[in-house]
Symmetry: C2
DNA sequence: CCAATACAATATCGATTCGAAACCTGATTT
DNA sequence: AAATCAGGTTTCGAATCGATATTGTATTGG
């Protein structure tokens, strides 16, 4: 019996995906990581729009993320705004230019491939979700789930509320990625 | 309904795995790629022990692979031998030093994690194998399966035989990775 | 049979990207 | 107030990419 290494399988899938993404990206004149960053920024809430969160999400080092952000800022795709309360912290946001690039890049062949590949058995998507969750647990890294699926998320008559930060949440907030996300 | 992007899931799993591997590797003073290369060389047959095959397997560029091999050769972990028939080609092989490093690195925490994570549902390993195969098909990349599971593999009274290369195969050959591997 | 040409495998090189560690600055703790 | 910690940046060397060059093989037309 051959011992199949799941880690190896995952890495090779990622390698294929990356090399495919690279092809797409060179046409647009940017790196895969740039799109990843902008995609994340379009899907994260105010607790998670920081370089530190990005670092954890992407699994890169702080230095690398810092460089990437510098470049994206210089190109006019994103914006940095210092936090009012904690002046160490920086909030990132996608500018209209960035949104434009993102929508231009998104409906790529890559995703049409994905649907072809996974449409037959989309119930198995859960396997991937579970695997990722398990890996995150083993690695003690955060889950980066949607706000409204979090343990700290509650809904009252005034709307939505986070029991961790003790703050009101908008409908939009609740549908975004949060780094404080905790599985119920 | 949230559209879960399987590609995103895979990439994030790979990011976690890589950052974990990097920790391990820095202790040994080498890069994750180096271990991947040596692991591959320990598991491939004579049709697949070339820089070109490695390039396809790892999803990197030829230049990068060339540099990596140069380094591994300089460190005395691998060996390059020019092909007798086609002098453009190079055959790579793992030296004893390389084997030593590989076995030293292999029983890592990484793999103990893996078993913990995936032991509950190892039947689902097939999902990963299928996903990888599908991706490889979509990408028109080769499958890199085991020789003995290939369409061109036959067994006669003289032993094993490859119908593509019309050559005899040893028992060992048949249990290694081949880049010409074609699913039955 | 022999150029000439197309193709294939690998190597080389400049530019870019990334990771590791040191550093800076502001917040928190003692 | 000093020490410690946390978020972010800078610096530097190593790794990677993409393009080009090099070398060897196969093919084709005379």
């Amino acid at each position: 019996m051959e011992t199949i290494n799941v880690f190896d399988l995952i890495e090779r899938m990622a390698a294929l995906i990356r090399s495919e993404e690279r092809k797409k990206c060179t046409e647009l004149g940017l790196q895969p990581v740039h799109l990843q960053v902008m995609d994340y920024l379009s899907r994260c809430n105010r607790y998670s729009d920081s370089p530190a969160a990005l670092t954890k999400y992407l699994g890169m080092t702080r230095g690398t993320v810092s460089q990437t952000l510098l470049l994206l800022e210089k190109k006019g795709y994103i914006q940095k705004i210092a936090d009012v309360n904690d002046r160490r912290m920086v909030h990132l946001s996608l500018l209209t230019e960035g949104h434009a690039i993102l929508t231009k890049a998104h409906p790529a062949d890559l995703y049409s491939q994905a649907s072809v590949i996974f449409n037959s058995n989309n119930s198995q998507e859960n396997v991937f979700v579970n695997a990722l969750t398990a890996l995150q647990k083993a690695n003690k890294s955060q889950s980066f789930g949607l706000c409204k699926t979090c343990k700290h998320f509650t809904t009252s008559q005034d709307g939505f509320f986070c029991n961790l930060t003790k703050e009101q949440l908008s409908q939009k907030d609740s549908e975004k990625i949060c780094q404080e996300h905790t599985v119920i």
